[in-house]
């Protein structure tokens, strides 16, 4: 027998369950407990860049919105830089933009919203530019292991067409499942998205 490698095994995932709000967004469960809470508002007065609202739903295989789903997003700032030491690109970081937020869907409509800024183009480790995008992680009752996907922006056609991840998707029609649509509503910029868990328009999910 050769020497054992002795790597540990990752802990198995389990569903977040229907009461995920208690732990992660207690105000949605109906009570107030922590002095400081995480939220769906990423933007602060000091954040640079264009203010945007991300708004969408997650639909199950019957087309019904999930009303107990929780989404987290992770994104770069307007300069295309992640607020983390492993991002060694040149863009400037600012105080007041962590780049992360979480939101539960509305218990009636299933609507999920984030108030954030539009990220800049990312520079990857080879110096290649990647289209602006937001990384999304989805958990809920019935989802056994968190789902990873991305949101790209409909007004970034040229950057999207050149993006190395979008181009990994074999079927052009499936690339569209990751594009959020820009509109303006009462002077605010809104990007709308739909995440389909199943069906002919199933969203592309990643094994990251």
């Amino acid at each position: 027998m050769p020497q054992p490698l002795n790597y540990l095994k990752e802990t198995a995932s389990q569903t977040a369950g229907p009461y995920v709000h208690i732990g992660l967004i207690p105000a949605m469960a109906g009570f107030d407990i922590f002095e400081k809470n995480f939220s769906n508002v990423l933007v602060t007065p000091n954040s640079k860049g264009e203010r945007i609202t991300l708004e969408g739903r997650v639909l199950d295989g019957s087309g019904t919105p999930l009303r107990d789903v929780l989404l987290e997003i992770w994104q770069a700032n307007a300069a295309g830089r992640y607020n983390h030491p492993a991002d060694r690109s040149a863009g400037a970081l600012e105080e007041g933009f962590r780049g992360w937020g979480r939101a539960g869907s509305d218990f009636d409509s299933g609507l999920v919203t984030f108030e954030t800024i539009k990220p800049g183009a990312i520079t990857d480790k080879t110096g290649r530019k990647c289209a602006p995008h937001v990384n999304v992680w989805i958990v809920a009752r019935g989802i056994n292991i968190g789902l990873n996907t991305r949101l790209y922006f409909s007004d970034e056609e040229a950057a999207n067409a050149a993006d190395p991840v979008l181009n990994l998707i074999e079927q052009p029609t499936r690339r569209k499942t990751l594009i959020a649509t820009r509109s303006e509503r009462a002077g605010k910029v809104v990007y709308s998205f739909t995440i389909n868990l199943q069906g002919p328009e199933e969203t592309v999910f990643f094994d990251v």
Partner: protein
């Protein structure tokens, strides 16, 4: 002159550089999905309409995956890891007092420092403080049922609570969850993000739980069961359970200057 002798005269070999391993790209070890529950697990009925049916698209980790949110003590309050006190109104919550402690490690065995661990649970009667929970067991006025902690430099975390009760749920008409605590863990990169549940040694509901048995690997299931840790208990006060959590390992380092342990 044979090829070997000629090679030895190669001027490039007269000034050899010591071999150093290339810096890793900071990507995470590929996830072993055979130890995780599959998305589609019909014994857990809620998964049927909520499971993607297409293959996941495998993505080499880019900067978007190896980075993730950074949290600090400023994000937490002083009672956040004390579920016995963080919602107490006029006394302590009802139930068995317990300490839960352990380490967050990665697959190489290194502790994951300064990472956020969040936890939530039912009260001792199996009832959640949640507007959508209608189980007949009563709410405990002194128990909220959630908390959070940052791991220390070695990846260690701990909190105090009461042992949650089992509860019925709608799957089959007589399905019961074993006593459990939900955990959410971040790690250093967004690709390490994990939600799981901790169970208690000796619980007879473990082998019949439709959610737990979605895990296809017996060892992976056993690793979700926390043993009683008498050595960590506080005599005449609290029992203790030990729960280590393993996140994905990372290829080498992304820092230019290697830091200790990398």
């Amino acid at each position: 002159m044979n090829a070997q002798a000629k090679a030895l005269q190669d001027p490039r070999l007269n000034r050899p550089e010591p071999f150093t391993p290339p810096l890793g790209d900071g990507g995470f070890f590929q996830r072993d999905r055979s130890i995780h529950p599959p998305a589609y697990a019909p014994g857990y009925k809620s998964s049927v309409l909520r499971s993607p049916r297409q293959s996941l698209l495998s993505l080499e980790n880019s900067v978007s995956e190896i980075t993730g949110p950074v949290f600090g003590h400023n994000d937490l309050g002083p009672l956040d890891n004390d579920l016995i006190r963080n919602y107490a109104k006029d006394g302590d919550p009802v139930g068995e007092r317990i300490i839960v402690h352990g380490r967050v490690l990665d697959e190489t065995g290194r502790g994951v420092p300064n990472t956020l661990v969040e936890f939530w649970q039912a009260n001792a009667g199996g009832r959640y403080r949640h507007k959508k929970d209608t189980y007949l067991a009563p709410i405990d006025p002194n128990f909220g049922g959630c908390g959070r902690a940052l791991t220390d430099d070695t990846g260690y975390y701990y909190f105090r609570t009461v042992k949650p009760g089992p509860y019925p749920w709608r799957n089959f008409v007589n399905s019961w969850r074993p006593a459990h605590i939900h955990f959410s863990v971040f790690g250093s990169g967004f690709a390490q993000r994990l939600i799981t549940q901790m169970y208690f040694e000796g619980d007879p509901l473990i082998p019949v739980c439709p959610i737990l048995t979605t895990i296809p690997d017996k060892d992976a299931l056993d690793r979700l069961v926390a043993p009683l840790d008498l050595n960590a208990s506080t005599p005449f006060d609290s029992l203790a359970y030990r729960f280590d959590i393993v996140l994905r390992g990372q290829r080498s380092t992304y820092f230019e200057n290697r830091t200790a342990g990398n």
